[in-house]
Each structure stands twice: as structure tokens, then as C-alpha cells.
Amino acid sequence: MTAITPRDLPAPIGLLAELTHRCPLGCPYCSNPIELDARAGELDTATWQRVFGEAAALGILHVHLSGGEPLTRRDLADLVAHCAHVGLYTNLITSGVGLTRPVMTRLAEAGLDHVQLSIQDSEATSADHIAGYQGAFARKREAAALVQEAGLPLTVNAVIHRANVARAGAMVALAITLGARRVEIAHTQYYGWGLRNRSALMPSRDEAKRAIAEIERLKVLHAGTIVIDHVAPDYHARYPKACMGGWARRSLNVTPSGRVLPCHAAETIPGLEFWSVATHALSTIWADSPAFQAYRGTDWMQEPCRSCARKEIDWGGCRCQALALAGDAAATDPVCMLSPNHAVVAAIAEAEGVQPVAEGPIDYVYRRMPARSGASSASD
């Protein structure tokens, strides 16, 4: 494939709008960056609405309203209404904390299409310990009931790590009880706070394997009742996954302060230049932003990807993983068995095997805003 000209540039499908980094919870696995954006720097209502209009014109179909906790934005219903007005499908990705009946009613009336509710565990004590928030579990049950009452479809999302890996199946059962049509079981991706807490989060290899097998079994068992989307770690695979469906091919991510990223972890790659919605139109960013152009298509590839038949199938895997494991974001993802660095992956998979089984509460570095940033306390 030659350099991409705007003419054959595919239009993006999804926009992840990180409306804020404020959040009452403190999940140690949180993929948000350690350097959280302060409230003072957040895009205002009018700017987000302009971005959503530009997104629809660009061909975006789905908008994922996320964060941080999107419910901390008082203008959330106005943003949803604007998305509906310009024809975008809206998905609210939430911890559920802050979802009261009046808020749910306003969001439903504004035209919200779908709610994705995250849970930390199937047991209240453990769930609240992981969230770093007393009573979070009970609030999530209430939130799920409110979503049902409003007649909106519900997806439950659970992130798997050492403290809850033994209850992966129980979390699927909880999702069914909560009335979800879909459940996402995602093994922790080690970015941001998740990377900071990696040693406390990494399950033993046996536990991870058991959980993966159980989820695969439940997928078949519950077919037609609940759809299980399983994001398993790819350390044991032969080839990598097409991360993000290929860099800068399908989606964009806008941070609370307006920087536009090809994926939520792209800022971990040093030297990339990101453009902001404050200075550029979304279509210009999609076509020309240096960060998007850096690994778009196949021209940037090294061997073995460059001459590989799979290069437009998996697009060389994950750039962030290549950086983390091979020290070079333009390298073949070391998960690939053809990568000269593949041994690193095998070594990590081995190291996972020696993690102790969790006994009692684990100590975490909870995700928190810096106290004096003016970002305000987590609860406002």
C-alpha cells in the first residue's frame, strides 16, 4: 500500500469522548493517564457540541461518552441531546455513581441510546475495596435498575485482575441479574494507573487461564440470553490483534482538554505530536495530524511486518505494546511469533505464573487527582 491520500482515507466510525477526568472512584486498574487533566482545562459545552457536529459530518456513527466519570459533567444531558440532534448513536460509559432517577430520566429524554455500566467484582466488600469507594457496589445495583426502568439497553463491563479473577463467571452471572443484554469481560490492559499497579493486579497464569476458559464456556451456555464480549490477553496468541482495527483507521479519542488521540494510550508514545480540537477541525486532525499519520497504513512498518502477508489484517499489532515490550513503537508487536522480540512476551507470560494468589485485601495506589491541582475533590 502506498501513502494514504485523503481520497482513500476511510472515514472513522467511533469517537471516544473523555468528557472529564474527575471521578469519585479510584480504581487501581484505571487506564486513564497518571497526569489527569484538571477541571479548569476541560472543554466547555459549546466546544463539545461543535466537536460532535464535526464528528457526525466526518462519518462517525457511535459516540462513547466516557472519562473519568461522565456523570460529573452537569451538562451531560445537553451533550447527549446534541449528539442525538446530529444523528450520533450515544453510549454512556459509567461507573453508575451519580446516576439518580432524575438524571436517568433527563438522559433518556435527551435520546441516550445505551448505557455501559462497569462493575468491580461480584461481591460488595471486594468491589468497594477495588473501587476505593464505600457503597459503590450498592449504587451500581441501583443504577442498573434505573437503566432498566428507563427502557435503555444495558451492557455490564468488568475488568479482570488478581483480586477478582476467581469470580469472572460470577460477574457474568451478576450481569445477567442486573438485566444486561451484553457483558464485556476485559483482562486489565496495563496503561496509566493500571501500569502503576501492575504487580498488584497481575493474576497468576493458572488463574487467568481458568477465567478465560470459564468465560469461553459461559459464552456458549448463555448464547441468546446475554452476549459475552471477551477481551482476553494476547500473550499466548501466535499473531497480535489488530489493535484499534489499525492505527487511525476506525476511531478517534478526544481527551478532556481536547487533545485528539488515535487510541487512549497513544500519549504513552514519546515524540508524537497531537493536535487539539481547540486549534483544528476534527476532519483536519483525522487527515493530517502527525500523531495519526505516524503509524497509519503500512508505510511506517519495519520487517518482518513490511513484507508480511498479514500486514493489512492485524496492521502490525499494538504500537503501545511494541513500545512497552520492544522499546520501539514502530517495531512489530512482540506478541507476534515472527517478531525478533517475541521471547520477551514468553518471559512475561512465565513471570505471570509466579504471582501469588490473592489473600485478603490488596494494597493499591488508588487513582486520584493531585490534591493541589485546582482539579477539585473527586466528589464535586
Binding site: A11, I13, A57, L58, G59, L61, H62, G87, Y89, N91, D113, H114, Q116, G151, L152, P153, T155, R181, R182, A223, G224, I226, V227, D229
Partner: protein, 92 residues
């Protein structure tokens, strides 16, 4: 493949909607985390999934509208809707 009851009345649930995508000039079925391209046959079936018409009525209607073989249409509708039901994208 499961076979759907002919007297059930399929309906798109909230959160699943048919949209004409002006940028790509095609019909799409939007659902949570899913975008399905809808071809002309799919669009005609989906437009009739209002919750008022039974599968039998939908098949009759399509067969007369398109002057097509009823048996084939019934099997197309069955296959299409059973697949959507497995994805929880249609209520029956």
C-alpha cells in the same frame, strides 16, 4: 440455527436503530458496539419489524411487494432475524 415462532412480532429494541449513513451512502443497523451494514433485503425486513406485524405477515408482505418466492423469503427472514436475536439485537 434456531427457528423463530411465526406468530412472534419482531421489534427493534431501544438502542438498536436503522440509520441511513449519508457519508458512506449506505444503510446501517446501529447497536451497542456494533455497526452492521444493512443491504436492501435487510432494510426491507427491518422496516417491517415494528412490533405490530408477525413474522408470517412480514413474509407475506415482502412476497407480494417483491413478487418473490414465499418459501425463499421465509427462509431469508428466519435466518436474518435468528442471527439478530442471537446478538440480542431484536426483540421477539
Amino acid at each position: 440455527m434456531i427457528s423463530l415462532a411465526l406468530d412472534s412480532k419482531p421489534r427493534l429494541p431501544r438502542g438498536v436503530r436503522l440509520k441511513h449513513d449519508a457519508v458512506r451512502n449506505e444503510w446501517t443497523l446501529l447497536a451497542p458496539e456494533r455497526v452492521l451494514k444493512a443491504d436492501l433485503v435487510a432494510v426491507e425486513i427491518l422496516k417491517r419489524c415494528t412490533g405490530d406485524a408477525t413474522i408470517t405477515a412480514i413474509v407475506d408482505d415482502l412476497a407480494s411487494a417483491f413478487k418473490a418466492d414465499r418459501t425463499r423469503i421465509e427462509s431469508d427472514v428466519q435466518t436474518f432475524l435468528a442471527d439478530l436475536a442471537a446478538k440480542r439485537m431484536i426483540d421477539l
